[in-house]
């Protein structure tokens, strides 16, 4: 166990968790206005309608597979009567289908980003970095599948190494040796994934955290009172004014005597919000001005 191993497998995971959780809370508090899928379907929908469902359904199954593979100890499935080889067979088949769908979908999405003029123009540097990390994580993941199943090199049962390490991290007793025993492909995949998770709160990927499951249980028509429609967080209150279209009820006393005598200070009519990166929209937007 070298110092680097210690750093990568005992310290880094916690840093990533801290950044992921802290970053998400920060973003939710201060940039709720930037929290969106930034859909590009208005520009192009033919390719999106193939690529996006392929990718999303694929990645959701893959994510589910990771949870099972990493969290459920091998003894449990063995005790349940599922042999190591049988478990692997089903994982490879299910994972294989989902993996192929994910990669195909991702390929279509990336191609579409590059090839459709308006979509390409709307692609920010943030998006490009996100896609690079996403592609890297998925590519590294596929390599591990090939390595693990023995198609390339020696077969490796990651549930005896990576999974053990993963659970040890969760129980706050990181087992660095378990991870160093895994083949390099697995370690690379884990590293890239950690990078992706650390960047997650600062990209458009946050949309996954607000998947709208509550919709299934809600009455169709939503009424909200003017009184209660004020947002509570400081940033939300700010963006209320900043975006102009933040269609809350305006807050404030109806009569602010000193103010009414001043000329209306509009926040700069010509400015438009620099929202193209979806991260920050400051004040100053003509739509506020009447």
């Amino acid at each position: 166990m070298t110092g680097l191993d210690l750093l990568l497998w005992a310290v880094l995971p916690y840093v990533v968790v801290a950044v992921l959780v802290g970053g998400t809370i920060w973003r939710y508090r201060y940039d709720r206005f930037g929290w969106t899928t930034r859909s590009s379907e208005l520009y192009e929908s033919r390719l999106l309608r193939i690529g996006s469902p392929l990718f999303h359904f694929g990645i959701l199954v893959v994510a589910f597979g990771h949870v099972i593979g990493l969290l459920v100890p091998e003894e449990w499935t063995t005790r349940a009567g599922l042999s190591e080889s049988a478990y692997h067979a089903q994982a490879v088949v299910l994972g294989g289908v989902a993996g192929v769908a994910t990669v195909a979908g991702l390929a279509i999405l990336v191609y579409r980003r590059r090839a459709t003029g308006p979509v390409f123009s709307a692609t920010t540097r943030n998006d490009k970095a996100m896609y690079a990390m996403l592609v890297a994580a998925i590519a590294a993941g596929l390599t591990t599948t090939l390595v693990g199943s023995g198609a390339v090199g020696e077969q490796h049962n990651y549930r005896e190494t990576v999974s053990v390490w993963f659970r040890s991290v969760l129980t706050l007793r990181p087992d660095v040796d378990a991870m160093t025993a895994a083949p390099a492909a697995f370690r690379v995949h884990a590293l890239v994934a950690m990078l992706l998770f650390a960047a997650w709160p600062f990209t458009r990927l946050v949309h996954a955290f607000t998947a709208p499951v509550g919709y299934l249980f809600r009455p169709y028509i939503v009424y909200r009172s003017r009184r209660h429609s004020r947002s509570r967080t400081p940033a939300a209150r700010r963006s209320q004014w900043a975006t102009g279209t933040a269609q809350h009820a305006p807050a404030g006393p109806p009569h602010a005597p000193e103010r009414t005598r001043r000329a209306a200070p509009s926040p700069g009519p010509a400015e438009s919000p620099s929202a193209s990166n979806g991260l920050r929209v400051e004040r100053g937007d003509a739509s506020n001005a009447i």
């Binding site: 709720r32 206005f33 929290w35 969106t36 899928t37 930034r38 859909s39 379907e41 208005l42 192009e44 309608r49 359904f57 003029g117 308006p118 390409f120 123009s121 709307a122 949309h207 709208p212 919709y215 809600r218 169709y220 028509i221 939503v222 009424y223 909200r224 009172s225 003017r226 429609s229 004020r230 947002s231 700010r238 004014w241 975006t243 279209t245 933040a246 269609q247 009820a249 305006p250 807050a251 404030g252 006393p253 109806p254 602010a256 009414t260 005598r261 001043r262 000329a263 209306a264 200070p265 509009s266 700069g268 009519p269 919000p273 929202a275 193209s276 100053g284 937007d285 003509a286 009447i290």
Partner: protein, 562 residues
């Protein structure tokens, strides 16, 4: 005229609008002022919260009324329940990753600008330099194909207008080929904003619950902090009045100028309307019966069902119920004076746009009598004679059928009834204006009394500002809110116009409160415009040209003084 057999359920107030189509001259002032105020930003270049379309025509976005394609509004299931036409809850979540019927930007139009720079920077040559159009989406040169009112004034002719979905429907129903007779075209303008529906399908389709109907005044709004860009509302609105901001990735829509109406000012489109054809007022309605009314089986009954929801503000039982449900006294008074209630329910001259979408729209339209009057006058008859007009209303099948497709789900009777009332008003008032004795039989022919006709005339023809706009101010139920009470916000103080990092930093000024109060002050004041000290800024959009605001012009030349 609430049904006597039924006590009102939960009473809610709704700010609503009526547009008198006979007066619209198609000048697009409303669209332009609205755009200047609300959507002159990147991401919504293509969006017109208010647009004016020529009928017959394809509308904006193209053919939006064709719900077989666009799947907006509600459908009634066989069991008699309502379901968004674009699908129920589960289906919606499963199609979240790519909306199956999202309009493309080209269904609106690809926004563009011009390469103005070329006008000054082109090298000297024989040719006159031109400013070529370039796309605002890609920056590439673009050939302009379509826009929000490309078929203005029947531009494009039969080729374009033949694809009007309303004309198509009429054709289907007539089972004969009614060619769109361009030569004998009747034509009128249809200004459109969001309908602020009582049963909004946009709200129903929003997975994250960011769209909501405000319970105080019924305005339908998007909470920008909660919108996640799932873009389902764009499909679900049958009027296509939700626009996806492609820069911010959030939905935006007409918000009935809520910062203005909250302080009692009319919406921008109403205030600036050249024809002065818009009316704003409250209606009280029975919220418990909304679902029932929207789900009546026969589409032709929807108009009556919708009218039936509106409660009579003069009925003491309604007033008691309204008080019980927390509607303040001044709002009740405003509801009694409401021109919308008067035109829609008392005089029954205003109709909802496409009631068959089942969203119970709250912008009402007085259908134009002008095609009828024109037809009578062109045939050499007296266009103000009640018998001629009544005869024409019955005989002119095509304009009436067209109006009926727009305003009463294809049932010509409600349209005819309105046109008869308007005709009767025309004839009745002509006699009065010529000094002849009033002829009560004319009023009776349309089922009205002379007094009612006169009242209608006052509302429609005299149309005083304060009769057109009866907008009660909002009630602030909470105490002062922190951002409006920054201790350093006083004039000239450090918090006045900017924070520590200059103008655009720090806490923003709550514009909607401040701007609108200032605006109201200015509009009702006799004194010239702001003359506050140095640093005072003037908002050019609402500077009315009066006075000489400091900071707007350079200081006067001192040499001019002797």
């Amino acid at each position: 005229m609430t049904r006597p057999d039924r006590a009102p359920g939960r009473v809610m107030a709704q700010l609503a609008m009526v547009m008198n189509l006979d007066k619209c001259i198609g000048c697009h002032t409303c669209s332009v002022t609205c755009k200047q105020v609300w959507t002159n930003r990147g991401g919504v270049e293509y969006a017109w919260f208010n647009n004016v379309e020529t009928r017959p025509g394809q509308g904006y976005p193209r053919r939006y009324q064709d719900q077989e394609t666009w799947r907006g509004g509600w459908t009634r299931t066989r069991g008699g329940r309502l379901k968004p036409r674009s699908g129920g809850r589960l289906r919606r979540l499963l199609t979240l990753f790519a909306n199956p019927v999202m309009p493309n930007i080209r269904d609106y139009y690809e926004p563009w600008t011009y390469d103005y720079d070329n006008l000054t920077s082109a090298p000297l040559g024989d040719d006159f330099p031109v400013a070529r159009p370039t796309s605002l989406l890609t920056g590439e040169p673009l050939s302009i194909q379509w826009s929000a009112n490309w078929d203005d004034n029947l531009g494009g002719g039969a080729e374009v207008c033949d694809q009007d979905p309303v004309v198509e429907r009429m054709r289907q129903k007539a089972e004969e080929s009614v060619r769109f007779a361009f030569e004998q075209a009747y034509m009128f303008y249809l200004p459109r904003i969001c309908e602020h529906c009582l049963n909004p399908s946009c709200v129903a389709s929003c997975p994250s619950g960011s769209l909501y109907k405000r319970s105080e005044d019924g305005i339908v709004l998007v909470d920008q902090d909660r919108c996640r860009g799932w873009r389902m509302c764009v499909t679900a609105c049958p009027y296509k009045k939700i626009y996806f901001n492609h820069k911010t990735g959030k939905a935006e829509k007409c918000h009935f100028c809520y910062p203005r109406v909250e302080v009692g000012l009319p919406t921008v489109c109403s205030e600036t309307c050249v024809g002065r054809l818009r009316y704003l007022g409250l209606v009280l309605y029975d919220a418990d019966r909304v679902g029932e009314a929207a789900a009546v089986e026969n589409e032709h009954d929807l108009y009556e069902a919708q009218l039936d929801l509106l409660l009579d503000p003069d009925d003491p039982r309604v007033q008691d119920a309204a008080r019980r449900d927390g509607i303040p006294e001044d709002w009740l008074a405003a509801a009694r004076r409401s021109p919308v209630y008067a035109l829609a329910k008392r005089h029954r001259v205003a109709l909802p746009l496409h009631p068959e979408f089942r969203t119970l729209p709250m912008v009402w339209y007085i259908p134009p009598l002008s095609p009828v009057v024109d037809a009578v006058a062109e045939s050499g008859h007296d266009g103000e004679d009640v018998d001629n007009l009544f005869g024409a209303v019955d005989a002119l099948r095509i304009p009436v059928a067209y109006l009926a497709e727009l305003f009463s789900a294809g049932d010509p009777e409600p349209v005819r009834a309105v046109l008869r009332r308007l005709s009767a008003m025309r004839s009745y008032m002509r006699r009065v204006n010529l000094g002849d004795p009033a002829d009560e039989t004319i009023a009776q022919a349309a089922g009205m009394t002379g007094a009612e006709v006169t009242e209608l005339y006052r509302l429609l023809a005299i149309a005083k500002y304060h009769d057109r706009y009866v907008v009660p101010t909002a009630h602030e139920t909470d105490g002062p809110v922190p951002e409006a009470a920054c201790g350093l916000d006083f004039d000239g103080g450090p918090g006045a116009y900017g924070g520590p990092f200059g103008e655009a930093s720090g806490r923003p000024v709550p514009v909607s409160v401040e701007t609108f109060h200032a605006l109201k002050d200015r509009q009702t004041a006799d004194a010239p415009a702001d003359t506050a000290g140095p640093g005072a800024r003037v908002n050019l959009l609402n500077w009315d040209g009066r006075g000489r605001p400091a900071g707007l012009f350079p200081p006067p030349h001192t040499q001019e003084q002797p």
